[in-house]
């Protein structure tokens, strides 16, 4: 059963410091929601309140309309990856998973399958203290998946993973969302996140700055063209007459609202040779920095 994550006017105060201030957003089934913020912006505190590890000063953190602590079988409803791959360093990977499977009421039979799935089958009998950071993160993902939960909450899960591991994690999370699951992920690897997420929540200084689908956030930026020609002034006028919005970065024209085909035809009609015509890829990092530091 798919479940929704809801933060409603969530606030956390430590003494005089308001770490999280009136945060409201939702992460819905079938979509991957990226939770973005600079260090110290309140991301981890928010996730911990959602998971019942910290008590909110005000507001509500709900999963499928219930507080985490009120969920009947939490491990079967929510899987979480927090911190840098938690495990006792003196336990083997397999023993760690069996401990958690028993604790979560999940079958021990899943342990070997999950070890295989996360690529740790050969290191299963190695102590986790000897694992690399990437291996510990894979073990953390396996731990989160023990109860086959519809909701996944992940805090910087790509830390320590190599490029292959990041691609594996991206595939796993996309498949989970495609199957109707809900994914809420925080990460500072924005380029990676941009390839994964459907919706964005941006938090800065404890307050939500933006909640939007990624496509909407990109907006016109998704069709921004970069044009360089022999006579930029004549091109500028031609593009504006055709309804384009034109600006210049000092080197090339940036055109919004026209397709590449239209720009090519307009330049041809204006008899201006084109030296460069490219489409700027949307840049989540720039959008994020603009919003986070605003």
């Amino acid at each position: 059963m798919a479940a929704m994550i809801e933060a409603i006017e969530l606030t956390k105060q430590y003494g005089r410091v308001r770490a999280v201030d009136d945060v409201t957003f939702r992460a819905v089934p079938g979509r991957v929601t990226g939770f973005l913020g600079l260090n110290g912006s309140g991301k981890t505190t928010t996730l911990r309140m959602l998971l019942g590890l910290s008590r909110p000063t005000a507001g509500r953190a709900l999963i499928n309309k219930r507080r985490f602590r009120d969920l009947a079988h939490p491990a079967r409803q929510v899987g979480a990856v927090l911190e840098q791959g938690i495990s006792h360093p003196g336990q083997t990977g397999r023993a760690h998973l069996v401990t958690q499977a028993v604790l979560a009421g999940a079958g021990r039979s899943r342990v070997d399958d999950l070890l295989e799935y996360v690529g740790l089958a050969r290191a299963a009998d190695q102590r986790t203290g000897d694992y690399s950071l990437g291996m510990r993160q894979r073990l953390a993902v396996a731990t989160a998946l023990l109860g086959s939960p519809p909701v996944l909450i992940l805090d910087e899960p790509a830390n320590g993973l190599d490029p292959e591991g990041i691609a594996w994690l991206r595939g796993l999370l996309r498949d989970h969302a495609r199957a109707g699951g809900t994914v809420l992920i925080s990460s500072h690897l924005l380029a990676e996140l941009a390839q994964l997420i459907d919706d964005v929540v941006i938090i800065a200084k404890g307050r939500v700055r933006c909640v939007a689908p990624l496509a909407e956030l990109y907006g016109d930026g998704a069709h921004r063209l970069r044009v360089r020609g022999r006579d930029p002034h004549r091109l500028w006028r031609a593009f504006e007459r055709a309804g384009g919005r034109v600006s210049s970065n000092g080197y090339a024209l940036e055109v919004v609202g026209l397709s590449p085909e239209e720009v090519g035809e307009l330049a041809f009609e204006a008899r201006v040779p084109i030296y460069e015509l490219s489409s700027d890829a949307p840049n989540l990092e720039q959008i994020f920095l603009d919003l986070a530091t605003a």
């Binding site: 981890t44 911990r48 998971l51 019942g52 590890l53 910290s54 008590r55 985490f68 602590r69 969920l71 939490p74 491990a75 929510v78 979480a80 927090l82 911190e83 938690i86 495990s87 006792h88 360093p89 003196g90 336990q91 083997t92 023993a95 069996v98 401990t99 958690q100 028993v102 604790l103 979560a104 009421g105 102590r127 731990t143």
Partner: protein
Amino acid sequence: MIALLRSELYRTATIRSSWISIAVFSGLGAFFGTVNVDAWALLAGMGAFGLAVLGVTQHFQHRTAVLLYLARPNRLLTLLGQLVASVVVAVGFAAVSGVTVLAKGDLTQYRDTLTLVPVMAVFGAANAVVVRRPTWLLLGYAGWFVFVEGLLGRLTAPLPFSSFLAAGGGDRTGLLIAAAWTLLALLAAAITVHRDITTD
């Protein structure tokens, strides 16, 4: 509750440092039992306290408390499960290490010690839930025992470890005082177990 107990016991059995500690202290206790029964009783009692402290604080030290509370968000029930697990481990350790005392036929000392061991285990586990850091707790209580209970109280004042010592010697009043301190520790644990799990 049963799942939590099974998980805690499995965890103890599969962490190398834990089962090696239990095995070494059990062997040492068995040796003490052949030489001096009082020494065994002291080791069994302090061992029960130490194992309970380490069993609980390891969760905070290695951050597995996060996983514990994610799987079992009802913290009072989790506390109860940890207390029961601590008692099972402590009684098992004391019972096995005391085989030489039994062999010598000192049934009274064996019985008195095994009566006290669960109380000390609960006291240790409850304190561990409050303090969360093994070094602070063990060093703090070492200092408390030497300076407050030893030097000031002369081990006769109605304080926790003095009463544990008296109870280990079969003193019923000492056992009652020890139980009262344990109840107080339990109350503190039940209140503080709801604290946030911080990232430090």
